[in-house]
């Protein structure tokens, strides 16, 4: 049977406010345990939450970025459950009247197609603290520094049909929140967390299958792997006559499998109700429009501009706009070199390769944009060959100096002096009489071309890659024709 996968994502984004959503405690990372847990965060008796305008503003920024309706009136609710890292016994969230309504984002897929993914809503809520289970005999240690950190939970429609689409969607959300500067988006630090709702159904069926929710997916790569693993499990289960249970599963990246979390005695019953400590939040069009006017250029607009302004294809532009820093870097190289396509090729080729290999982000890349632009110019003006340019690039990466210094010091300048090349050609012809005879006696054009190229290779080798290849071609052609 042909199966279709249906995926919806819930993405929790930690907002980059200075202070917590309902208290004036700092949200700075890396403080001593509980040094940033105030009386409100600890749920001391009589404490009242006061909403942080910064969190509201960031939620609105996101909503506008995904063309969503912004609710003029939104309400906070209590989600009741007991856990040691939740001192109040409830989490303040928005169940019924979220601040951000329906919106959408578009994603580019590897086959060149574009898909639109709906956003059902996004709401503000507070994070819980952290429980540490190791190191304490029969006890758990609780750190409430994270309690009360503002989160924006972004809930997608069940619009994704493959793990690739889900990963592309997550990347797009990441790009949007980091462009807006409303989160650092660092998945490894938990600033962005993702739960995946996954189900399968026979192709053509309109109803959804029973879904499971995968938690604990903390990298872009794991999102794809976890979903594919879970889809395989569900299909196998159904084909063997079983039924998918609606349950929460944890993804174990080491074993590449999902595992059922222990089923609770009762189904979750959070008994949501409006939080009487907080009044409805009202925002007007003046507030919303002022935020709209201040939005930066977003990934889609930037991608479109790269296509029209620099003549790139959408495929070439898409990876460049994944982060603001990478896009800025590209623009500097493109402007500095006057050759946007070469700039894109270098960035997505050699630069991306070395960044991956050394696990370096563009912000910490040792090759500055100006130097890469100069390098591209030196290939253009014939100072060095395209092949040796890679050698210069590696030297730039290793901090060996400016492009011109490296070319000079390592003697990589392309030889374009025809006398010098002629001498090289003569030497190669004299040393390789057999190859010359071979070439001259060949009658099949294609084979002859191959033998000619072998001779060009010898000359290039003799010049240590520095001879101008076009000139080598011309001179060699002349010599071989005249010796005919």
């Amino acid at each position: 049977m042909q199966w279709e996968t249906v995926i919806g994502l819930e993405v929790h984004v930690q907002l980059a406010t200075q202070s917590k959503i309902f208290s004036g405690a700092s949200t700075a990372f890396g403080a001593e345990p509980n040094a940033q847990a105030s009386a409100v965060d600890l749920a001391m008796p009589g404490m009242l939450p006061v909403l942080n305008e910064g969190a509201v503003r960031m939620a609105v920024q996101f909503g506008l970025a995904v063309n969503a309706n912004i609710a003029h009136r939104s309400v906070f609710d209590r989600k009741n459950y007991f856990y040691a890292d939740l001192p109040k016994g409830y989490q303040i969230s928005q169940m019924y009247h979220p601040i951000v309504g329906k919106g959408e984002v578009s994603v580019n897929l590897s086959d060149g197609s574009e898909r639109t993914i709906g956003i059902e809503h996004a709401h503000l809520e507070e994070d819980a603290g952290k429980s540490l289970h190791e190191d304490f005999q029969g006890q758990s240690g609780i750190d409430l520094n994270r309690a009360g950190t503002p989160l924006l939970e972004i809930v997608s429609e069940p619009d994704m049909r493959s793990a690739e689409e889900a990963a592309a969607y997550l990347r797009k959300i990441h790009a949007i929140v980091t462009y807006l500067g409303i989160s650092d988006g660092d998945m490894s630090q938990g600033s962005m967390r993702c739960d995946c709702n996954v189900s399968v159904r026979p192709k053509g069926q309109t109803e959804f299958g029973t879904r499971s929710e995968i938690k604990n997916v903390n990298s872009f790569r794991f999102v794809e792997k976890a979903i594919n693993t879970e889809v395989e499990r569900q299909i196998e289960l159904i084909e063997d006559g079983g039924e998918v249970q609606q349950e929460t599963r944890l993804y174990d990246a080491d074993r590449d499998e999902t595992r059922s979390m222990r089923t609770k005695e009762f189904a979750n019953d959070y008994r949501y109700f409006p939080d009487p400590d907080l009044l409805p939040v009202e925002i007007d069009d003046t507030y919303i429009n002022a935020i709209r006017d201040g939005l930066p250029e977003l990934p889609d607009a930037k991608q479109a501009r790269f296509v029209t302004e620099y003549g790139l294809n959408a495929d070439e532009a898409a990876p460049l706009v994944q982060s603001q820093a990478l896009a800025d870097y590209f623009e500097q190289v493109a402007r500095g070199s006057g050759d946007a396509r070469q700039a894109a090729n270098w960035i997505m080729g050699e630069l991306a390769r070395l960044m991956n290999q050394n696990e370096v982000e563009i912000q910490d890349c040792p090759v500055n944009a100006g130097d890469l632009a100069t390098l591209i110019l030196r290939v253009q003006d014939g100072t060095i060959s395209g092949k040796l340019a890679k050698q210069v690039f590696e030297a730039l990466w290793n901090g060996e100096g400016s492009p011109d210094d490296i070319i000079e010091q390592q003697g990589l300048k392309q030889v374009s002096d025809s006398g010098e090349i002629e001498a090289l050609v003569d030497q190669v012809l004299a040393d390789n009489q057999a190859m010359v005879d071979d070439y001259l006696s060949e009658e099949v054009a294609k084979k002859q071309k191959k033998k000619f190229n072998a001779l060009v290779g010898q000359v290039m080798k003799a010049s240590q890659g520095k001879a101008n290849p076009a000139q080598v071609n011309d001179i060699l052609q002349q010599k071989l024709t005249s010796s005919d």
Partner: protein, 95 residues
Amino acid sequence: MSISRDKIEQVAWLARIRLEDSEKEALEGKLSDILGMVDQLQASDTDGITPMAHPLDATQRLRPDEVTETNKRERFQAVAPETQDGLYLVPRVVE
């Protein structure tokens, strides 16, 4: 509307309240009375009335995003039953 013994036990469990059998019996009557009152409220015609999220006719005041709290961990932890290395200790919580 009346409430069943099962429901009372479930709600008590959700609220982490231990009830004696005699208390359950008493609660059955009391909670059923409250639900009866809710039924009465629900019988009234509320068509065209916007539900209120809060009894006060006011909206939320927003606070500027500024850090105003200082570290008062020592004072808070002085009243905690048990702490270690700055952490609050609780009976072991296992996922």
